[in-house]
Each structure stands twice: as C-alpha cells, then as structure tokens.
C-alpha cells in the first residue's frame, strides 16, 4: 500500500490486491485506512521512481516490440504497432505474449489494440478481458459501454460528468458537443474525437540518450522513394561509423519518418547476429520503404540502433583446403524481416517413435546437431496433419489390407509391407499405454504408395482395435 500527499492530506495512491478486498480504495485518507485495517503496512509513494521505472519498461518494449513506444503516465505504455505485429505472429499473439512476459516478471498488465490511442486506452483499462484486439472500425461500438473515466480526462471532469448523469462513453458521444465544451473546456471534445480517430494523435516516441542515433533534417520535405532510399543509405553509413566507434553491431534498427503533418511512420528491421555491414543494412531498410506513406512530405529522418550488441570480429578462413562455408545470416535476415521469425526454421530430430512427435522446429542459425532419424523403415514424403480414417478390408490378425477406401476412392492393394509396430510413449501419460499402432506400407494398382496404420492393441479390446487410418503418402 502506497501513501502519497494531496495537499495537506495523506491519501492512498496504490493498494494491493488483499487490501482492496478488505475495502481499501485508492484516494482514501490514510487515517480511514488505518481504521478499516489496523496494522496495515504502508510505504511512501515515490512518483519520480515510478516514472523512471515506467521509462525503463517503455525502453524494454521499444527494444522488443515496436519502434514507436511512449510512456503513458502514471501507469501505462502506448505502443504504435503498425507494421510490427507480423514479426510477432499477429496482433493477438503479440499482445498475449506481451502480457505473459510482463506477468512472468511480476507485473500485472492489461493490454488492448485499437484503431486509436484513446480507444485502446479505454479498452485496456475497463474491458473485462485482460487481452483484447478491437477489430478495425468497430472500436466505437466496443468502447461506448465503458465508463467515462476511460477518456483520459482530469478527475474533476469525470466527477462533473457523473453529476450530470453521464456514466458511459457512449452517453457522452451521443449528446451535442457545444454545451459540454462550454462546461468542461475543449479537452473533452478533443479526447472524444481522438477516440473515434477523427483527429490524429501522434505518439511522441521515447528515445534513450544511450542509444546510437543519427538524424537528418531536411530543409525541403522529401517524398519520392528514390530520395528516401538515398538518404537512408547516408544515415546507415553514419550509424555504422558511430557503432564502429563503440565496437557495437546492430541487432535492431528503427528508421522513423517525421512527416510535415506531425505524424510518424516507422520501419523496423532486425538481424540475426550483430551487424555493421552497410550494404546488408541498407538492403534490409530499403526493402521496406514501400510500406511508408510520405503524405505531404518527410521533414526529419531518424535512424536508431534500438538494440545493439558487441560485435566480435572473427578470423576469416585462411586454410586453402577448407572450403568456405557460405554465410546465410544475410539471407536469414532478409526473409525474417519480410515474413516473420517463426516462419523460417530448421527441423531437428526428436527421439520419439511416434511419427508426429519425431521432429521439432529450431531457429535457422542454431548450431548443427549432427543427428538424423534412424532409416531402418521407410518414411512417407507427406504426413497428414491428423490421420484420416479409412475403410479397409483386411484379414485378421496381422495381414495388410487387401483394399481400402480413402476420400471416396477405393484402391486395391497389390503389394504391402509391414507391420511396423509403434507403441505409445507410456512413460508420458497413462492414455499412451493403450496407444499402439501397426503401420503398413501399401502400394495400389497404380503404383501409388500409402502409409496406413491399424490402431489398438489386441490384448486390450477397449483401446479400439481394428480401426484403420491413413497417415502418410509415399509417392
């Protein structure tokens, strides 16, 4: 429980979860709190330290999520996710990941994505769902039942609105604007417009003095893609020189464009390893220039190495016999920045006999494991995501099928090989004990080969013996 000062009074500024259940509220005088809950622990509030911590959190979000991040005091962050969500697997997954990572470090967070800062602010604070993505264009409908406190207006205005009988944002939106402005001033009207997205609201991005930044201010606004590309190249050269002085390589670069209408556009690129190669960085940045809308022109370009790591120089291969391994980091960066990190991977073997568990995805530049799958038995080229049931005619107990019907086509089996018995991994779960499969490789009259299995164990009739599935296609 934190105690702050409001003039001469000492009031509560933050309350823990158990204390809240005991009836304590933010804004309550300290004496009343002591009367309600004797012996409660209090700490003096430190707004400056809070602001500093929020700044640190904003910097972390800047380095990990999106190029435009600003603290929204006293307790929020605002992140412009335009063009950044696809690198984290979409908006919903990015938001869930953000909230989970914060809660892992002991911060209870709620998050929302909406068309405008105002709508996201209200949705994050007052919707029941701690993580929500408001569909584009529908923000007004979702936000209108929320209380007026979500409007980012001073507490006196909230109290005034309550006195007049307005409780939700929707109530305020439907009434004529002029009387409200007369009573509460222009701020309320502006917040309502900002919430609906009818007037723009630029986010003033956080910049840390420790980050390496280069900036180009134009006398005359620029707009042509070729011009942007040319100045980008110049900025990258300056940045690489600055990084070289500090012995750093960039892991993440943000290129911000300040437009003449005071709005911001950003490009973010990431690299798999610390990089200071001008050509590679210019290539990555210019690849994404097409996503920038220069509007009436760009006044300032800002290039920041948001995440930089020490760059260790490596000895080039000097042996004349040893063939030089091609460096794929550049290619990996280009593809990852285009389609997202989760979509570029290697497949590594897992020690499991169950086919669908016998592989896992690993990052593209992870070191070579040198392992492979055992090749005693042939494996199909295509594995169906889930085995599809087939109708089969087969002799019991152990004969391969004589014919089977898959996706409405009946096929006669000419040749077959099997069974290959695969037991469930009984040491993992009890249900796996009965999961036995007998795999057959069969060839039909046309020469096509399929991977069929019969599930179940003849000793345990309950496990569903004799159901046949098609699991893969050889050729």
């Amino acid at each position: 429980m934190l105690v702050g000062r409001d003039g001469a009074r000492r009031i509560l500024t933050a309350v823990s979860r158990p204390a809240e259940q005991a009836g304590l509220r933010v804004g309550m005088p300290l004496t009343k709190a002591h009367a309600l809950l004797p012996g409660v622990t209090t700490m003096p509030a430190d707004p400056a330290a809070d602001a500093a911590a929020l700044g640190r959190l904003a910097l972390w979000a800047l380095q990990h999520y999106a190029p435009i991040v600003a603290p929204d005091p006293p307790d929020g962050l605002v992140i412009d996710t335009t063009g950044a969500d696809h690198l984290h697997g979409g908006e919903a997954r990015m938001l869930t990941g953000l909230v989970n990572r914060l809660s892992a470090s002991g911060i209870f967070a709620r998050a929302a994505i909406a068309d405008s800062w105002g709508a996201a602010h209200a949705a994050a604070r007052f919707l029941a769902d701690p993580v929500c993505v408001l569909p584009p264009g529908k923000a007004g409908e979702t936000v209108s039942p929320l209380p007026v406190a979500g409007l980012r207006i001073p507490p006196e205005t909230v109290a005034g609105l309550h006195v007049l009988g307005f409780s939700t944002i929707g109530d305020v939106l439907t009434v004529p604007r002029a009387p409200l402005v007369l009573r509460f001033g222009p701020l309320l009207g502006r917040r309502l417009d900002q919430l609906q997205g009818t007037i723009s609201e630029p986010v003033d991005p956080l910049r840390d003095p420790d980050l390496v930044t280069v900036r180009k201010v134009f006398g005359e606004p620029i707009g042509a893609p070729e011009t942007i590309a040319r100045y980008t190249a110049g900025l990258v050269r300056d940045l690489c020189a600055a990084l070289e002085k500090r012995g750093l390589g960039a892991r993440r670069l943000d290129l911000l464009f300040h437009r003449v209408d005071n709005s911001l556009q950003a490009i973010r690129i990431g690299t798999a390893r610390p990089a200071r190669d001008e050509r590679q960085l210019i290539r990555l940045l210019t690849d994404r220039i097409e996503t920038i809308d220069p509007g009436f022109g760009i006044e300032i370009m800002d290039l920041t190495a948001t995440l930089a790591e020490p760059l260790v120089l490596q000895q080039a291969v000097s042996s004349l016999i040893e063939a030089e391994e091609a460096d794929l980091a550049g290619l990996v960066d280009v593809i990852v920045n285009r389609i997202g990190a989760a979509r570029l991977y290697r497949i590594a073997p897992v020690e499991s006999d169950v086919p669908e568990r016998s592989f896992r995805r690993i990052p593209p530049l992870s070191p070579e494991t040198g392992t492979t799958w055992p090749s005693r038995w042939p494996r199909p080229a295509r594995l169906l995501a889930r085995p599809e049931p087939v109708e089969v005619m087969a002799l019991l107990p152990d004969h391969p099928p004589a014919s089977f019907t898959w996706r409405g086509v009946r096929r006669l089996v000419k040749r077959a090989d099997g069974p290959e018995r695969i037991f469930g991994e009984w040491w993992k779960r009890d249900a796996e004990l009965a999961a036995v499969r007998d795999y057959f490789q069969v060839e039909d009259t046309g020469g096509e080969r399929f991977w069929l299995f019969r599930s179940g164990n003849e000793e345990q009739v309950a496990s569903g013996i004799g159901r046949w599935f098609l699991h893969g296609i050889f050729a």
Partner: protein, 263 residues
C-alpha cells in the same frame, strides 16, 4: 499428350562445329558467364546424354510436377527434387505454403536435416519472393519451392535470379485441386520441365515392397529434346537409377514404347 520422335539425322563434323560456335555466341548475347554452364549430372548415362552439357544446368530454374493422381500431393516429385538437392553442395532452402512435408523422408532421400532451411510463406506472393531471394543470395546449394501458380513473368524472374546467383532452382508445382493440374500446359522460362509419374513396382520373390518405380517425363528441355525415362526412385544418397527392367533393351526403344502407351 502425343510424342513424335524422328531419328537424328547424321551431321558432318563441320556442321557440328558451326552449330557449337553459334550456340556459344548466342550464350554470349544472353550474358551468361562460363561458370554458369556447370551441370549436375544424374549419374545415369541414358538421362545425362539427353541433357545439354550432360546434366541439369546448375545456375538455372527447373520445374518438376507430379503426374496423374500425384499432382496434388506431388510426393514423388518432391522426392525427385530432394534427390537432386541432396546431390548439390551446401545448404538447401525449402519454401512451402502447406507444411505437410515429413522431414525424415527428405533424410532418407539423402538430404540430412542439418542441410535444410524451411520457409513457411503465408501466400504464393511471399513464397515467390523468398524463392527469388534464395536464388539471388548465391550461397545456397539449391532452392526448392512448392508453388501452385507460376506465370511466365515469374518464371523468367526466377530464371534470371538463378543465373545471377549461380544457384540451382527447383520449382515443385503443387496444386490445390486436381482440375487445375495440367502444370506444363502454360509456358515457362524454366530450362527443363519434368513430370514424375508413379508406376507399379516390380514384384519381389518374397512378400514386401521393392524400390519405387517412376516414369520420368522430360517434357521440355531447352536446347534438347523431350524424352521419357523409366527409373527407380531416389536412394539414400539422392541418386536415381535406370530401371533394371529395361536392362536388356535400348533406352530409346523403351522410351518410345512408353511414349506410345501414354499418348
């Protein structure tokens, strides 16, 4: 489809020299350097003899599709592509849109898991971009992409990228539906176009399944003739073998027989 093959007319040595000289000059117009003429032989003399230069041209685009019922899954075509990629040097980039590929099968075709980088592109457009990017990079051994549509323009771009990067590109044509499946009907800038049909395998003296048999149809070959080959599927090192059934016959006769049967 129909096939017609005329017996090759005998040419005198001087005509040969003139033709070779003309080819060289055309190549210089194209701007392709000497190193781009490196080839990857199949190691099967009957097939290599049909391909200009004695193998698959390395710095170029090749197209492979499945024939008949295999057009949708293209699993035989995939193994054929894996076998070719396995015999190149260096890493292989494999671009997909649907991830039903079973990696152990690639390992059994000679492509170890440590050599393959997978790209799972969301749509055809980004798939083609990644394909082109991989070809241009130049450090990869081969780039394989499972594409459904490949327009003339796109294939021309890819061919130029393959020439620029000196990388072998394999466009594995995969279709959503069987109806749209005649892949090789549209023109393409690929240097060779292959169709892989599965065929019933030879009976074994014991119960079981032998090595898979393919009918490999070379539907188009720049500066070469179309041909059919009866082959055995890729082995653990990615090699195909000429079918043992034809061991006592000349390959040309075998090819013609199958051509007539397919027509």
């Amino acid at each position: 489809m129909s096939f017609s093959r005329e017996p090759a007319k005998p040419m005198s040595a001087s005509v040969h020299a003139v033709v070779a000289d003309l080819r060289d000059r055309i190549r210089q117009f194209d701007g392709r350097a000497q190193r781009d003429r490196a080839v990857l032989p199949f190691g099967v003399p009957e097939i290599d003899a049909r391909l200009p230069g004695g193998g698959l041209a390395l710095a170029s685009l090749h197209e492979i599709c499945g024939g008949g019922n295999d057009a949708v899954e293209a699993s035989a075509a995939m193994l054929f592509a894996a076998g070719i990629a396995a015999r190149t040097k260096g890493q292989v980039l494999w671009c997909l849109t649907r991830c039903d590929l079973f990696a152990p099968a690639l390992a059994q075709a000679g492509l170890a898991p440590g050599r393959v980088l997978y790209v799972e592109a969301g749509d055809e457009k980004s798939l083609l971009l990644c394909f082109e990017e991989g070809l241009r990079h130049g450090g990869l051994g081969a780039v394989v992409a499972e594409v459904a549509r490949l327009s003339m323009t796109a294939s021309r771009r890819l061919q130029l990228a393959a020439e620029a990067g000196g990388t072998l590109g394999l466009a594995l044509r995969r279709f959503r539906h069987r109806k749209e499946a005649d892949a090789l009907a549209q023109p393409s800038a690929a240097v060779t176009r292959w169709r892989v049909h599965v065929r019933p395998s030879a009976p074994l003296p014991v119960p079981g399944i032998g090595r898979a048999q393919w009918l490999l149809e070379l539907a188009r070959c720049r500066a070469g003739e179309a041909a059919d080959f009866d082959v055995e599927a890729t082995d653990a090192e990615g090699r195909i073998a000429f079918s043992s059934r034809l061991a006592d016959r000349s390959p040309a006769a075998g090819a013609r027989r199958i051509g007539a049967a397919a027509g």
